[in-house]
Amino acid sequence: MKQTETKVLMFGWELAPENSGGLGVACYGLAKGLADCGVKISFALPRKMKGKVNFMKILDHKLHGVQITAIRTRMGAYMFEGEYQAWRSRGMGEELKMYGKTLFDEAMRFGEMAVSWSKSQNHDVIHVHDWMTYPAGINARKVSGRPLVAHVHATEYDRTGGNVNSMIADAEYRGLNSADRVIAVSEYTKNVVRKYYGVDGEKIHVVHNGVDFDEFTPVVMRKLFPKSKVALYVGRLTFQKGVEYFLRAARRVLVYEPNIMFVVVGEGDMYERLMWKACELGVGHRVVFAGFQTGLALRACYQMADVFVMPSVSEPYGIVALEAIASGIPAVISKQSGVSETVENVFKVDFWDTEKMADMITTILAYPKLAKEMSRMAKREAAKLTWNEAARKTLAVYRELL
C-alpha cells in the first residue's frame, strides 16, 4: 500500500489554536506533519471548531451535542473530575441535563458517537490521543476492524502523581491494552506505560513531539518589564506542573538578583493555591500571574524572558520547553520530563531540588555569554525536532499495521 493513500480516522479532544494545553498543540502539529506526508486525516473532535483547518477534514458537526464546552471554559482536556463537577453545579443551564454527568461520561458519550463516524469515514487506521478518546477508538475498531493506535501524551499517573482516579486509569488501561500499537511521546512515558499499565514494551513506539519554529521566530515585541530580568513559566497551573517548585526557587533567586520578575503564564486548578503560596513565600511582589496566553501574546511572553523554567513533577513531554528554545530563551527543565531526552544544551534539574534550580537560574542571569551560547546550541538541537520527523515515525508505526 502506498503511503499517499493512507487514510486515518483520528480522535482528539482539543486542537490548536483552540487548545488549553500541549495536547491540542501536539495533535495539530502531528496531523499537519502527517498531512504533509500525504496522509488523509479525518479528525474527530467533541466540540465545534471556530477556526478553519485546511490540511485535514474536521469532524465536529455531528458531535455538536457533546460539546458543552468551549476551550477556555474550565472543561478543557485537563479538567479534573472535581473541577468538572463544580463547573456543572454552577448551573450551566437546563439543556445540560441531556449530557453526561461527568468528564468520564463525556468521554464515553464521545465514544458512542464514534460508531457512526467509523461507518461513514473510509479509513485504514484509527489513531486516538489520550484517555478521553480511547473509548471512541475501541468502538471504532469494533465497527471497522481497522487497527488502533493509542497515542499517549499524558497519563493519569503524570497528572496526579500516583493518586489516580481509578475510572480514568481503568479507561487508560483498557485503551492501551486494546490498541495494536501504542505511541509514547518519550522514553520517559514509555516507561510509565510499561510500568503502570502493563503494556508490552514491544508494542510501544517512542515518537518525540516537535515544534514549529516559524511560530516562535523571535520578532521585536514590547517587553512587559524592560527594566527587570524575567524568569518565565508557561503551563497549566496543576500539581503535575510543579509550579510551586518554581516559586520556591524564586525565593532563592531573589537573594542574588532582586531585580527580577517571575512571570507565570497559564490557568488551572492550582491558581489560588499558588498565588497564596507565592505570597507566603514572600515573593508575591515579584510574581506575575499572567493567565492563559496563546498566539502572539504567548510569543511575546517568550520574547521578554531571560530564562525559561519547566519545573514539572512528571512531564511526558513538555512542548513548552521547545517553544522557549525556539524563541531563543535558555531553559532550565525538570529531569522528570520527556523533552529532556531530546535536548542537551539546557540545564536539567530534579524538580524537587529548588536550590539547584535557583542556582541554574541565577547562573543564566549572571553569565549572558553562557546564556546566549546555551540558547544558540539548544536551538540547533531543537531544529531537528520537527513535526514532519514525528509524522515520519508515526507513519512507520502505521506501516507495521497495514
Binding site: 524592560p226 498565588m275 505570597c279
Partner: protein, 399 residues
C-alpha cells in the same frame, strides 16, 4: 443627661478597573473603565448619591433647621470628595450647605482612606495634611478632631494626632481594652498630654448600622421611640452616646424600604422628648465633659468585623504581600518627583483594595464580597498586583 453624638463616615474608593497582565508597561488610567456607562466608580458613586447621600442630606438639613440644638459630625475622605467633584458635584454642594449651618463638624481623616499609619508614618502625616487642606479649601473649616481610617487606633495614633494639632480622637469601644469602662464617658489616651478620646458605643451604633433591618433580631422592627428609650437609659451612667457609623447606612446598607429614613427623621425628635438630652459634635462632646479615666490601647484596633482589629485588611498572605509591595515602592515614587505617579500610588494605598482580598469569610459570601468589584479575593489580588507592576515600571522609568 446624655449628649448624643452622631458621627458619620463618608467614603468611596477609587476601584481598580480590570488590568490584564499583558498590559503591564502600557500604563493608562487604572481607575477608569472603558466608557463612562460601564465605569464602576461612576456607577457606584451615582447610585449611592441617589440612594443615600442626597436623600440623607435632605433629612439632616431639615432636622438641623427644625431642631435647635441638633448637630452632627462627618468625616469625608479625600478620595470620595474627588469623585463628588468629578461625577456628582450636587452631592458636594449639599454637604457644603450642611456645613454652612455651623452645626456640622468635619473630622480629619487620611485623604486616601489608607492603612498608612501601619506602614509609613511619613505617608500617614502627609495624607492627613492633604485631607485637612482639601477640607479647608472646599468647606472653609479647620478639622480639629481626628479619626484614622476604619477607626484604626492605638496609643500611638492618639499621640500622632496630638502632634499634628488635633484635640480629639475617635476610636472603637473595644471591649477587651475598655474592660469595666463604659464608652459613654470622655477619656484620655495613654501617653498623651491633652488630646481627648471618644469611644464608639458599638452596641447602639450597630443596632442602626447592622441590625436595623434584620428580621431575625428580637428588637425588630426598631422604632425611633424604642431606640430613644435605650439612649435615655444612659442617663446616670454616662454623658455621651457616641453613635459612629458609615453614612452609607442610610439608604445603601439599609435600603429605603426598611424605613431607615423615617427612623432617622423621627429619632432626634424622640430623643428631644427627654429634655435633658442634647446633641453635640465630636469636638464639643470631648471638651464639654471631664476626663473620666485614661485608656491604654497598645494594640491596633478598628471598627471592622467581629475581631475589631486589622484582620479585614492585613490577615492573609495576599493582603500582606500586596501592602508590602505598595509601601516598598514609596521611596521610589517620591524620588520620581512626578506628582501624578504619587497620586496614583496613593490611591493604591486605599484600604478597600486589601479588603477585597480578604478570605476570612469568603465561603459565606459575606459582606466583603458584597462590596468587592472582583469575582474573588484572588482575582482582586491578581488585578491589583498587575496594576502595581505597571506602576513600578513607570516609576523606575522616571528614576
Amino acid at each position: 443627661m446624655a449628649s448624643v453624638v452622631f458621627y458619620f463616615h463618608v467614603h468611596q474608593p477609587f476601584r481598580l478597573a480590570p488590568f490584564d497582565a499583558m498590559r503591564i508597561g502600557e500604563g493608562g488610567d487604572y481607575f477608569q473603565w472603558k466608557g463612562e456607562m460601564d465605569d464602576r466608580n461612576v456607577k457606584v458613586l451615582r447610585k449611592v448619591a441617589k440612594k443615600c447621600y442626597l436623600p440623607t442630606n435632605r433629612v439632616l438639613a431639615r432636622l438641623l433647621d427644625e431642631i435647635e440644638d441638633f448637630k452632627v459630625s462627618f468625616s469625608i475622605t479625600g478620595v470620595v470628595l474627588e469623585q463628588f467633584e468629578k461625577y456628582a458635584p450636587e452631592v458636594l454642594e449639599s454637604f457644603m450647605k450642611l456645613v454652612k449651618t455651623g452645626k456640622v463638624e468635619l473630622v480629619g481623616d487620611t485623604y486616601h482612606h489608607s492603612l498608612a499609619f501601619v506602614f509609613s508614618r511619613r505617608e500617614f502625616r502627609e495624607q492627613v495634611r492633604l485631607h485637612q487642606k482639601r477640607v479647608k479649601e472646599l468647606f472653609g473649616v479647620e478639622t480639629k478632631s481626628f479619626r484614622n481610617t476604619e477607626l484604626i487606633y492605638n496609643n500611638d495614633v492618639a499621640k500622632a494626632a496630638e502632634e499634628m494639632g488635633f484635640t480629639t480622637v475617635l476610636a472603637e469601644g473595644v471591649d477587651r481594652y475598655l474592660d469595666w469602662r463604659s464608652p459613654n464617658f470622655v477619656y484620655k489616651p495613654k501617653g498623651t498630654r491633652k488630646i481627648r478620646l471618644l469611644l464608639k458605643n458599638y452596641r447602639l451604633s450597630d443596632d442602626i448600622a447592622f441590625r436595623f433591618s434584620n428580621r431575625g433580631w428580637k428588637e425588630w422592627p426598631l422604632t425611633a421611640e424604642k431606640y430613644a428609650k435605650w439612649i435615655n437609659q444612659v442617663n446616670g451612667n454616662g454623658y455621651v452616646v457616641n453613635l459612629f457609623m458609615d453614612y452609607e447606612t442610610f439608604g445603601e446598607h439599609q435600603w429605603q424600604d426598611t424605613g431607615i429614613f423615617e427612623f432617622l427623621t423621627q429619632l432626634p425628635r424622640e430623643i428631644k422628648k427627654c429634655p435633658d438630652n442634647t446633641f453635640m459634635t465630636v469636638g464639643e462632646a470631648a471638651w464639654n465633659y471631664k476626663v473620666a479615666d485614661e485608656v491604654d490601647m497598645p494594640e491596633l484596633t478598628s471598627w471592622a468585623d467581629i475581631e475589631r482589629d486589622l484582620s479585614a485588611w492585613l490577615e492573609n498572605p495576599l493582603q500582606q504581600s500586596a501592602s508590602r509591595a505598595v509601601y516598598e515602592l514609596e521611596e521610589a515614587v517620591r524620588k520620581s518627583k512626578r506628582p501624578e505617579l504619587l497620586d496614583v500610588w496613593r490611591k493604591l494605598t486605599t484600604s478597600d483594595h486589601y479588603y477585597y482580598m480578604c478570605t476570612k469569610w469568603f465561603s459565606d459570601g459575606d459582606v466583603h464580597k458584597y462590596f468587592s468589584p472582583h469575582e474573588s479575593p484572588y482575582v482582586a489580588y491578581n488585578n491589583f498586583m498587575n496594576v502595581l507592576h505597571d506602576l513600578r515600571e513607570r516609576v523606575y522609568t522616571e528614576l
